[in-house]
């Protein structure tokens, strides 16, 4: 599998490590509820199809990336820097 890092270009997936679904949003702050945190930590849609997911280019530029990939075919349609994605999301919105 080849992932096109927005900074480093196309690299083998062995250079990256995987975290998982990018959709869950951490409930921040002292007022956050345990049930919301449980859902964030544990529950996943796990779709067969397009999946937005977090990868870390650990053997390259150490950027966290949001990769949009089809879990049935492994086809990648987008790779974006996670920090940019995170900065552009509005409060309460999933990534």
């Amino acid at each position: 599998m080849r992932i096109r890092c927005p900074y480093c270009g196309e690299r083998d997936n062995g250079e990256f490590s995987y975290l998982g679904d990018a959709a869950p949003r951490r409930p921040d702050g002292l007022e956050a509820q345990a049930s919301a945190m449980h859902d964030y930590v544990y529950l996943r849609d796990n779709p067969a199809g397009e999946h937005r997911e977090l990868w870390y280019h650990g053997a390259g530029c150490r950027s966290w990336l949001v990769v949009t990939r089809d879990t049935r075919t492994h086809t990648i349609s987008d790779v974006s820097p996670a920090r940019d994605v995170a900065r552009s999301r509005r409060p309460g919105e999933a990534a």
């Binding site: 599998m1 083998d12 997936n13 062995g14 490590s17 995987y18 975290l19 998982g20 679904d21 049930s35 449980h38 859902d39 930590v41 544990y42 529950l43 996943r44 849609d45 796990n46 779709p47 067969a48 999946h51 997911e53 990868w55 990939r69 879990t71 049935r72 075919t73 492994h74």
Partner: protein, 416 residues
């Protein structure tokens, strides 16, 4: 037809013409007491034990393809009960005991081969972790031996003791562990369940789950609506997709695990061996191929195939452990899709919907669990109460914190 040396000889004289289909390729009826979704090892075993232990025979097993086409036919055939946590230990030992009597029970030779499972350790800390595990096994009455370096050398003299990057210091051995001919498990359970009246329906994909008033009433399938009082999901790898039909999100991700087999050669290794310093485990099939594997690829996938990074990683582990493997050739590699759960342990539980039962989250340990998973799932379905040996596999444990995390990796499925 009863299988025995006599029936085999008798048929040999008749040109093998008297054999009957090992199970009926049933057409679905419109209604059943229990519909089991998934004709893999677990689903077929569940049907068998529902019939045998609970007297339920108005059962259908629905399989979208042909039976045994999922992970029961894609794994590396290892069986063992060398777990370390109390939530797992009794369950896997029950499974091991069922394996030990399986062939006589279902009259099918699944080649249960208790050749021993040897986990190597390479440091004092790993030794102590294995001691912790082995002691827990012994406390539960399970066989476990902690071998030193010489003990390991006596079993597998051909591995690298001289020039290893991570020297082998010993191993944890479970002699009762071993291998089982994987396909035969599916076929044997199918035949035994069929003989007890279970309908095995192939090429029947479930497309929806019917609910009325919070209760399951049946399933929609590619072969029409099938009503059922109880619906049991046993579709590891695809669990989330079925759960999504009833708007259920689960602590599960689907990941691909690759497996490998070499060309067949004369006997080389008599046990199952696991490398503690790399991702590699190996045994040899009765046909002569080395069957081996390593880590999951590490990303969500439903594609049943993996990539080169993992393949190289597995082979490096193999060569590091056993440098004589160099000229042996890889014959075939393939992938299976795992339900990777958030703590690395399975779920056998009711759901929030009456009449809907869940058997899922097996990670890469589902094959060895087949008999006990079927046995305990059948118990849950028939009695609406968990079997004591599987009582820890609750769906709400992630909320209560009663996690069963053997590796201590936390809520990251690809690290389990």
């Amino acid at each position: 037809m009863h299988y025995s040396v006599f029936s085999v000889l008798g048929q040999a004289l008749r040109g093998q013409r008297g054999w009957k289909p090992q199970w009926r390729d049933a057409a679905p009826r419109t209604e059943y007491d229990v519909v089991i979704v998934g004709g893999g090892g677990h689903g077929l075993a569940t049907a068998y034990y529902l019939a045998k232990e609970h007297g339920l025979t108005n059962i259908a097993v629905l399989e979208r393809s042909h039976i045994g086409s999922g992970n029961v036919g894609r794994n590396t055939t290892i069986v063992r009960s060398n777990y370390g946590l109390p939530g797992n230990i009794p369950f896997y030992e029950q499974s091991m005991k069922l394996w030990e009597g399986l062939e006589q029970d279902i009259n099918y030779n699944a080649m249960v081969s208790q050749r021993g499972v040897l986990n190597l350790y390479h440091s004092d800390a790993q030794r102590d972790a294995y001691a912790r595990r082995g002691n827990a096994m012994r406390m539960a009455g399970i066989d476990a031996e902690l071998l030193d370096r010489e003990g390991v050398r006596a079993m597998v003299p051909f591995i690298d003791f001289e020039n290893a990057r991570f020297p082998v210091k010993g191993g944890l051995l479970q002699r009762r562990g071993g291998t089982v001919r994987h396909d035969a498990v599916a076929w044997g359970y199918a035949r035994a369940a069929d003989q007890r009246g279970v309908d095995i329906v192939q090429n029947c994909a479930v497309t929806g789950i019917r609910r009325e008033n919070g209760r399951v009433t049946g399933v929609e399938t590619s072969r029409g609506l099938i009503r059922a009082r109880k619906v049991a999901l046993s579709v590891a790898g695809s669990t989330s997709l079925l759960a999504a039909m009833v708007d259920m999100r689960l602590p599960i991700e689907s990941h691909v695990l690759q497996a490998f087999v070499s060309e067949g050669v004369k006997p080389l290794i008599d046990c199952v061996m696991t490398f503690g310093a790399g991702h590699f485990y190996v045994s040899q099939s009765d046909k002569g191929g080395l069957v081996f594997g390593g880590d999951i690829d590490g990303y969500n996938s439903y594609a049943q195939r993996g990539n080169l990074a993992t393949i190289e990683d597995v082979m490096e582990g193999g060569m590091a452990l056993w440098p004589g493997l160099g000229r042996l050739r890889l014959l075939r590699h393939w992938g299976g899709v795992m339900d990777m759960s958030m703590d690395g342990s399975p779920i056998i539980d009711r759901t929030g919907i009456d009449g809907l039962y869940l058997n899922a989250g097996w990670c890469y340990g589902g094959f060895k669990a087949t008999p006990a998973a079927g046995f305990c799932f059948a118990h849950l379905i028939a009695r609406d109460a968990p079997h004591p040996d599987a009582a820890a596999y609750r769906l709400d444990r992630f909320a209560t914190g009663h996690l069963i995390d053997e590796k201590g990796m936390g809520a990251q499925p690809n690290l389990h």
